[in-house]
Symmetry: C2
Subunit: 228 residues, 2 copies
């Protein structure tokens, strides 16, 4: 099993059967030892964070596959904290697609002149490019098309699918009395069919979930969501 990529929160291995294996690590993004799903550096290590992220991802992706939303998810192995996925190529050097239901985080830092903290946003979608050096800048549909990263048609699919998936996640959280403030998704093209797939993970590490006014940490989120 060949290690082909070492990510901030996951390592990627190539399997014999043309599939890939993601090994979830206990490293989480943040700054100065404080978890922040919007950060792009590893801020701290939390025992069990990898497995919790995998379990939540498996929970959401299994349901999405059943709903015929295309994802890269094949299966999960909780003993090894690994997930088997279909190969996919990312758009450009990787994009993050954010869906916002509440004005917090970087949205508020940019548009605080027009929005108040916690204000409802109507499943607002925006894209950022993965570029640690340039602090993951937001990018418009026109810029994505001009720079050859996404066509306008692909953008429309990505936006529609982001809203669909984010609303599904928000509804699952709501069943447990939680509110989804925002979520960050990643997409790629199926390496064989070219179909647009949801890739990466959906866990506490890429969303802000609240219970009333209280932010729910990733490990706590997994416990609440997967409690019998």
């Amino acid at each position: 099993m060949e290690l082909i990529y070492t990510g901030k929160t996951k390592d990627v291995f190539k399997l014999e059967n043309e599939l890939f294996l993601l090994k979830f690590k206990d490293d989480v993004t943040g700054e100065n030892g404080v978890f922040d799903p919007g950060a792009n550096t590893v801020g701290l290590t939390i025992d069990g964070a990898g497995l919790a992220g995998l379990k939540l991802t498996s929970f959401f992706y299994s349901k999405l596959n059943q709903l015929n939303v295309p994802t890269h998810y094949v299966e999960a192995n909780f003993d090894e904290a690994t997930m088997t996925v279909k190969p996919a190529t990312v758009f450009g050097k990787g994009l993050e697609v954010i869906c916002r239901f509440k004005a917090v985080g970087s949205f508020l830092r940019r548009y605080g002149a027009y929005a108040t903290e916690g204000q409802d946003l109507d499943s607002f979608v925006e894209v950022t490019i993965k570029d640690d050096e340039r602090l993951d800048p937001p990018i418009s549909e026109d810029a994505l098309a001009m720079l050859g990263i996404l066509t306008h048609d692909e953008y429309a699919i990505l936006k529609q699918r982001t809203i669909e998936i984010s609303k599904f996640v928000a509804a699952e959280l709501e069943k447990k009395g939680l509110t989804l403030y925002d979520i960050k998704l990643e997409f790629g093209r199926d390496a064989k069919t070219g179909e647009i797939l949801l890739i990466d993970e959906i866990s506490g590490g890429n969303m802000r979930a609240y219970q009333g006014d209280t932010y729910i940490e990733p490990l706590q989120l997994e416990k609440i969501m997967l409690a019998e």
Copy 2:
């Protein structure tokens, strides 16, 4: 004549006849004494900068009015360094609309992973909100619509008109052997008719003009463009 607003590079007075008077100052934007059309602080004062800006603005806006492109321009008084304009209300707290023909400045700082310095861009349009405190962040069409700043229909008009005006300016520069790298425009609604108008100014202070590989400073630009 009542002073109603003190801007970074212009003061605004209310006239008796429902029109307004813009007084062009010799302050230009920049940082640490170096002129930068992309900066949002006054960096230095250049003798004659106000009058040069007014003369170029008058040159471009007169031609645009003749081409039936709606602007707020009525007339200029070079002795007083003033320009009479129609009243207009800005979108939200003010927007800047940028048209880019070459990848430089903040575009390159954000998207340098996908573009090389000076690369041609196909009259790429993006909008920033005027907010000194938040460093004039870029904003997408969807965010503008969601925050009630612009409708999608108004965005389409703004974008189309920005391309039209920017290409016109680029063509005027080209007649003098100059290349337009990028330009920043402002629009508002005619206070009486609601029509979308080009407002503010078009001068060296809001564009990057080059002669070959040499950047042309605002005063020099005025001399080249208005030379008989």
